[in-house]
Structure formats: C-alpha cells, structure tokens
C-alpha cells in the first residue's frame, strides 16, 4: 500500500515567525536589529534607541507585543481553575480588568508572571513570557474548562507615552478616557483596549484579530502624526521598564521550568512579589510549600532596587558588603535618562538587602579602548518605581 504524502513546509529556514505587525515595523527599520522573542521576529531597535526611549517618555511609542504567549480559558470552572493555578484571588477581580499575577509549581517556585484579562467569570485570557501548556493542562485535570493557546490568532500593540491618550482620541477611540489603570474595554470587531503597559507611563495595550492589524496601525499612525508617534524596539522599552521596577522572567529571575541548577529557582517572596500571594485562599499550586517556606524562614534571596553612585551602568555587577563579601548580583542595570541616575534591579542573599542595607558596594568594570576601569561604587537600596509619573494613573488621562 502506498503511503499518503503529507506536504508541510520545512521549519529549517524559518525559525522566527513574523507577527501581524511585522511589515509595519520592518518598513521603518533602518539597521536590522531583530531578536528572537519566543520564536517571533521582534525589533531591538527600529532606528535610534535613545529617541525611541524619549518617544515613550515624551510623546507616543508603538511596540509590537504580538509575541506574548496567550492562553484562553473558558467554561464553567474557569475561576476555580485559575484560583488553583495562580497565587492571587481571581474572584475578587472585576470583569473587564487586568490582574498582574504569577503562578508556582508545587515547590512554591515561580513558573512565570503574567497578566490575566477577565471578560467574565467564564472567560479569561492569560498572557505571559513562557509556554506552559503541559503545566496548565495538568492543573486543569478535573475542571470543566476549555483551554487553548491563541498566541497566533491575536495581534498585540502597545501604545505608550504621554500623548498616547490623545492619539487614541484622534483615532476616534474616546472610549478610553474613562479607563482607569488595569481597566479594559472591548469594542466592535473584537478589539480589546486595556490601560496597561510595561513602561510606568500613561499607556494602553491593544489586542485584536490578526487580520485587523494593518488597518488599525494605519489609523493610529495617522492619528499620531502631530503627536510624535514612533515605532520602537525592545531596547528602549527595557530602559523604561527598569525605571518602573518591573522584572522580566529569565532575565531578573530564572523560571522553575528553566532552572537546571536547583539553587536557581525562586519563590515569590524572593523576587519581590510576596504581595501577590493570597494566603486566604484555601488552596493554590505551591501554597503548602510557601506556607512552609514562610514559617521556617527558608527564603534565601531578596529582590532589591538599587541606586548606584556615578554614571556607569552596572550590568551583571557583583554586590559586596563592606567591599569584601559577595552578597548579590545585579540582574539588570541601566542609566535612567528620566531620573538621571544609574539604577539597577538585583537579587541579594539574605540577610543583605533586608536587614543589612548599608555599606553596600558594586564593582563595575568599564571597558574603554581595551582597558578596564575598575570602580567600587556605593549603592543604596530604594523603593520602586525609580521614576514615578502622575500621568500614569490620572483619569481622565492627560493630553500630553
């Protein structure tokens, strides 16, 4: 018997997929700085990193968030399922709002953080960095739900910056004026607009069916003509997110599914997200372990936000106590163009960073023309955000 041949395209040549906004971003790209975001072609820089940063903080920036991994969860037991999966209480979440959340494995180690969009008690969308289908399906056993990945069906565009509300108004979307931070609204053609973002600035995120992406972009671009609209890449966004004190999975902490070395996993308390954990819930994945960790003080690390003397960025630098003992590492560092400070996110070994907060130093190696300048710089532990902007939360939003 002759076997039926199934024709499929080779994946060899196309490790990175194009997003629905790819043509729009690539047409503006001048130097070809692409990177791999979860298997999608994403821009690091469109034209000029600094100017892209200033679009976020002074006008309006457009960033492609289509590669976010998206799961849709529907059905009778959706809330029960999510309350088991995540550490926060989804029953308290209002319809048409977004909840920043995280979920753990049974050891209380963080699997990922993400955002949860609640359409109704029977319908949610979960957005995150990593792919989690096996864990989600395992957790779903026994619940009457439907769960599927919709990453490739839904395009996403983040519109951030002080003139972003004006841009959306110009585009006829005055409906956004009543949105408070974390609210969202779904308008016709299934376009979702949330007042969320990764910048700590005034801003919105749009999720829409792929086939609407091009037209929507054109409309927004036209609306932003006099409002300084600019397409941006991740490098600029990354500065803004550090200024806000937001962490990124597998950059500021290693997710449990990725950690090969067993001391690399982290519980929520160790990455600064203990406030999320709702211990009043009868059960959630990892709860027993977290109870034990807290009772016996088993946490070994603490998240810290640092201000560093001088102006050299301290990426990857080791943190010392008394200039002698190693007490932590900087996970992300940047010069903050808005705060005019050298800032960093760090993971510190307890009790440093919690009980011992003074006499802390970082060693910075600044490479200049093939020679290092070694510097010991004083650091101070501060509260996030490094940059606090009133316009982020004002409702109705400011015009510029």
């Amino acid at each position: 018997m002759k076997k039926e041949l199934i024709k499929s395209k080779s994946n060899f040549n196309n490790p990175l997929k194009k997003t629905p906004f790819y043509e729009k971003f690539s047409s503006q790209m001048t130097q070809g700085y692409w990177y791999d975001w979860s298997g999608y072609k994403a821009a690091s820089i469109i034209q000029d990193q600094e100017l892209e940063y200033f679009a976020i903080r002074s006008t309006t920036s457009l960033f492609d968030i289509s590669p976010l991994i998206k799961y849709r969860i529907k059905g009778k037991d959706t809330e029960k399922f999510l309350n088991k999966l995540t550490v926060r209480n989804v029953i308290l979440q209002k319809n048409n709002t977004v909840q920043y959340t995280l979920w753990c494995n049974d050891d209380g180690h963080v699997l990922d953080d993400g955002t949860l969009f609640k359409f109704s008690e029977f319908d949610y969308r979960l957005c995150c960095q990593e792919r989690h289908l096996p864990w989600l399906l395992d957790t779903a056993i026994g619940f009457d739900i439907e769960l599927f990945e919709e990453t490739d069906l839904v395009a996403g565009l983040s519109i951030q910056g002080p003139t972003s509300a004006s841009v959306l108004n110009n585009a006829g979307l005055s409906i956004i004026n009543t949105l408070k931070p974390f609210d969202f609204v779904t308008i016709k053609k299934n376009i979702l607009i949330s007042r969320t973002g990764f910048t700590g600035d005034l801003g919105y995120e749009i999720f829409l069916p792929n086939q609407l992406a091009n037209n929507f972009w054109d409309k927004i671009w036209e609306a932003g003509k006099y409002l300084g609209i600019k397409a941006i890449g991740f490098n600029a966004l990354n500065i803004a997110r550090v200024e806000t004190g937001f962490i990124v999975a597998n950059s500021d902490f290693i997710t449990a599914e990725h950690a090969i070395r067993n001391n690399r996993t982290r519980n929520p308390d160790e990455i600064g997200l203990s406030w999320m954990v709702d211990m009043s819930k009868p059960f959630f994945n990892g709860k027993d372990a977290i109870v034990k960790i807290r009772k016996n003080n088993l946490s070994k690390y603490v998240f810290a936000a640092l201000e560093i003397d001088g102006k050299e960025p301290a990426d990857g630098a080791i943190i010392y106590h008394d200039k002698k003992h190693e007490v932590g590492i900087i996970t992300t560092a940047t010069w903050s163009p808005t705060a005019k400070k050298s800032i960093a996110l760090a993971s510190m070994k307890l009790p440093y960073g919690q009980k011992i907060k003074s006499n802390l130093w970082v060693e910075i190696y600044a490479l200049r023309e093939l020679e290092y300048y070694k510097m010991m710089k004083k650091v101070s532990i501060v509260k996030t955000p490094f940059v606090k902007l009133k316009r982020r939360t004002l409702t109705p939003p400011l015009k510029n």
């Binding site: 600094e50 200033f54 002074s58 300084g228 001088g310 102006k311 163009p337 005019k340 300048y373 510097m375």
Partner: protein, 543 residues
C-alpha cells in the same frame, strides 16, 4: 521705608538658574535662604513664556546639554518635573539649493558629508577624536573651583597640581595641541582637518555662538569646546530639549528649593547691596523694602553686581578697574516665532528628520566673517547666521498639535546701532532681515507666522538683566576663563567684600545653562560658613 527684620542666613539676588541652583544647595544644607528676583517671572535666561495664547516660548536659551547631571541628581529635579529629551537631526542649507544634514547615526552622517567631500567625511573621525580629547581635559574642571595661582593656600596648590596632573596625562604633542587649541581661531582649527566650505561652516557655528568674535578671531576654538562638551545621558556632544521649554529647568529648581523650605519673592529688584565695615549687611530694593543678611550672593553678572549694585567707594580701585575691563559685549539677538504649521524646506526630502534639529543657512566661513564685519561696523548683520530650531517638532507640550514655536538665535546683533539706541523701526528691520533669510529657503514661510518676538541685546539687558545683552554674562575667551573668570584674584566666587559672593555665568566655568557656577559657589559659601557640603556630590569621573 519698609524694612523686614527677619534675618536670613543668605540672600540671593536673582532667580536665574545659577541663583536657584545656589539657593537649593544652601537651603538643603540647613541654611535659611531668600531669593529675590526683579521680574514677575523666574528663570533669567532659562525661561518658557506664553507670549501668544497656547504657545510657550523658550525665548532666551533654547537647548540644554551643559546642565550637569550631578546637579539634577543632587536636587532631585526629575522628581520636580524636569525631563530632558534628545534631539534628532540638524541641517545646513546652501545658497545653491543643497543641504548638508547632520544625523545621530555615524554612518548616515558620514555619507552626508561625503556628498560634499569624501576626504572630509573621513577626516571627521580624527576631528571628533581630537575635540573629545580636549573635552576630557576641560570636563573635570567644570565642577571644581578654579585655583588661585597667586595664593599659597594648600587647597589652591592642590588644585593647581590637579590641573597639572590633568595636563600631564597628555603627551607633549597633545599638550602643545591643547595650548594651541585654547587660543586658536575656529577657522584655522577647522582648516587643519577639512577642505569643504559647507562642512566647515556647519561646524564653525559652535565656535562663535554668543561671542563677539568672528570665526577667524583667535580664541574661538575654545568656544566650540564649550558647546561640544555638553551631553545628554552620557552621549557627549548631543543636545537636548527641556520638555516644556527651558523654563522647565528653573521651574523644577524653584520647586526643589521650596521643597527644602526656601523662600522666593518675585518683583523685587535689588537697587543696592548694603555694606558696613567692609561687610555685606543686606539689600535695599527699588520698592523701598530692605532685607538683611550678612551673606549676599549675586546671580547678576559681574558688571551689574559690582558697578551697579555696590557703591564704588566700598571697592578697591584695582578691582573696579578689572571689572570694568571684563569683556561682556552683546553680539546676538533672537527672533522667536509662533507658527501656524510646520514650515516647508523643499531642498530636503519630505519626512527627513534633519529639520527637527538646528537649522543653519550660512554655508561658508567667509559669510560668517562678513556677518561679523557688520557688527564691528556697529550694526546688525545684513546676512546673519541663524541657529534656528523648532522644539515643538519634538516636544508636544509647548504648542497645540500641528502648531509650532520656532527659536531663531541670530548673530550678530549689537547693543546699539551705530552707537545709537535701538528704535522700534530698526528692531523691525532687524526682524525682517531674519524672516527674509528663512524665506529664501522656505517659500511661504511668512504666511505661517502667528506671532513674533524680536529681541536685540537691548531687550536682553532690560528684561533679563544681562549687561550689554551678552548671553554668557561675559565672553568665553581664554583670558576670561578658569582663574581669570570673572577677574584675576576673585575666581572663587568671593569678592573684596566680606559676605558678598557671586554665582552667575560670569564666574567659572562660565555661561550656558550649566548650573556649575551656582553649585561651585554654594560649596565655597558653605565652607566659609563651616557647613557640610556632602550633599553636593563630586563630578562623575571622566574615564
């Protein structure tokens, strides 16, 4: 006469940015500080003013890059609303209808130059290396009090050694180069690197801006440095806008000052500084009020301070003579314009960002020098050079969407015309010269004008208080820098009178919205008062 008996630790005359920086550092050290400003607005030459409805004008200074990041950090200015945003582009138009754009990307910029001269485009690398070397020498000196070479105090000797050490890091050739550089003309300097007129003209501008010298006058190469050493977020040589106009800087300073508990009163022009037994005692205002303190700091320029606010009889004659000799000639004017829409520049491809930066219409050093000849003859340049910018193409907060504020810095423009006072008629003719030049490159420009403000050195003197309208409170030539600024023997913010200090751009390290004079002066005052100075961080090292 109404005298106020509350005693202040320090009274500062003038709410220019340096006065405010000074005030912040003193107040933060726990002193009780009063700032008195003559105008009903604050900021001196760093202001944003709504001169026509809904359009804010940076009607004096218009770009920011010299302002020290250390000061922004110490005084938490970002928290008080200050945001500096980077500028894109820049272009020089030529009389034969071409343009030379300046881009932030190195290769775009190089290719642009290559359209005019391939050799020059490759020489640019060497040129910028050499200028950067000079910057590295001068930068660390900005946030230090200049040493007094005549003094035998250990601090001064230490500072002189610091200078020598800086200098010693250069090779003998580089030392010779540095000395040449500080005294050379910008034209000669550029000739050593470049052959093309347009390229040279585009680079020469920073050598003469704000200076009563032409591109062929010795000393102008240093002026270039003064403009080159600015930075935005560590990128040396780039310029930025203060979001909301230059007034955003002084508004943030004033908010910071008040948050430390400081007091500021506007519409309070100081008429004279009260002196008793060689010691400052207070100030008397034009409106009859008096305020008392044994520490008075003047933010006004050195001439205004010592020739107008202090009675001659209290000062040593040799000092008065030196102050009189201080060069503070007014050489620039400004035309500030509100526009109905973005002007067109047909020479530039549509959508090119080069017109978002500084726009120039002077395509040869010769034309610059001719412009200077007019000034020497006593009148404004008939073919002036403009440093023109449209901040609203970048900053969305200064005008409604689609409308614009345009800033035209104009050189040269004298404080008097052929020795006679400016009249309304002459002022308009001066404005017309500027409009006409722009119109040559931007057809239809005139129809877009909603409102216009013309400022000659006379307005700068009357409104901002800058003697002769000199934008830097004194020229930035080598004979008036470091330990010679403002005058030899008094380069450390002190004066012959006890308790009388000076903190404006007339002092080291000079003009521009930099904040360093105000900060350095604060440190000297705090030392005299035996107060801590640890809240003023040292300059970031230049590595």
């Amino acid at each position: 006469m109404n005298s106020q008996h509350k005693n202040y630790d320090v009274i500062i005359i003038g709410a220019g940015h340096n006065g405010l920086v000074n005030a912040c550092y003193l107040q933060k050290a726990g002193l009780n500080v009063l700032v008195l400003e003559k105008n009903d607005w604050i900021g001196g030459a760093a202001v944003s003013r709504e001169l026509t409805p809904n359009i804010l004008y940076s009607n004096c200074s218009y770009v920011c890059s010299l302002f020290r990041p250390e000061i922004m950090r110490d005084l938490e200015l970002p928290k008080h609303g200050l945001q500096i945003i980077g500028i894109e582009g820049g272009t020089t138009f030529t009389q034969d209808g071409r343009y030379l754009a300046n881009y932030r990307n190195y290769h775009s910029k190089r290719r642009e130059m290559a359209r005019f001269s391939v050799k020059d485009s490759e020489a640019y690398e060497r040129y910028s290396r050499d200028v950067t070397r000079q910057c590295r020498f001068i930068q660390p000196l900005l946030m230090r009090t200049a040493p007094d070479p005549a003094s035998f105090k250990s601090k001064d000797i230490g500072e002189i050694f610091y200078l020598i050490k800086q200098f010693n890091e250069l090779s003998p050739d580089q030392m010779a180069e540095t000395i040449r550089f500080w005294t050379m003309s910008i034209s000669d300097y550029l000739d050593e690197y470049f052959e093309n007129d347009v390229i040279k003209a585009s680079l020469a501008l920073s050598g003469i801006i704000g200076t009563a010298l032409g591109p062929m006058s010795p000393g102008t190469a240093y002026v270039l440095l003064h403009h080159y050493m600015g930075e935005v977020d560590g990128s040396i040589g780039s310029w930025g806008y203060a979001r909301g106009g230059m007034g955003a800087i002084t508004q943030a300073l004033s908010s910071s000052f008040k948050s430390f508990g400081g007091e500021l009163i506007t519409e309070s022009e100081v008429e004279n500084i009260l002196i008793k037994n060689n010691q400052a005692k207070g100030v008397a205002l034009k409106n009859g009020n008096e305020f008392y303190s044994s520490n008075i700091v003047s933010n006004a320029d050195v001439k205004r301070t010592f020739l107008k606010l202090v009675d001659d009889k209290f000062l040593p004659p040799s000092f008065v003579k030196k102050v009189k000799n201080f060069k503070i000639r007014g050489s620039s004017g400004k035309v500030n314009i509100g526009l109905d829409s973005m002007p067109d520049f047909p020479a530039v491809p549509k959508g090119d960002p080069c017109i978002k930066g500084d726009i120039h219409f002077t395509d040869s050093i010769e034309r610059m020098e001719k412009a200077y000849d007019d000034w020497k003859n006593g009148t404004w340049s008939k073919d002036p050079f403009l440093d023109m910018m449209i901040p609203t193409a970048t900053d969305p907060t200064m005008a409604p969407p689609g409308k614009h504020f345009m800033s035209c810095f104009v050189q040269y423009c004298p404080p008097k015309v052929y020795g006679k006072d400016w009249t309304q008629e002459k002022k308009e003719a001066f404005g017309e010269t500027v409009i006409k030049q722009i119109e040559d490159y931007s057809p239809g420009f005139r129809e877009k004008i909603i409102h216009m403000e013309i400022r000659t050195p006379k307005e700068l003197e009357d409104e901002v208080g800058l003697t002769e309208g000199n934008i830097f409170q004194g020229e930035l030539t080598f004979d008036q820098l470091l330990f010679n600024r403002p005058v030899p023997g008094y380069a450390q913010y002190r004066s012959p009178l006890k308790g009388l200090y000076i903190c404006g751009s007339s002092t080291h390290p000079g003009g521009g919205v930099m904040g360093a004079p105000g900060r350095n002066a604060a440190i000297e005052i705090l030392k005299d008062l035996k107060k801590p100075t640890s809240h003023a961080r040292s300059a970031y090292e230049v590595i």
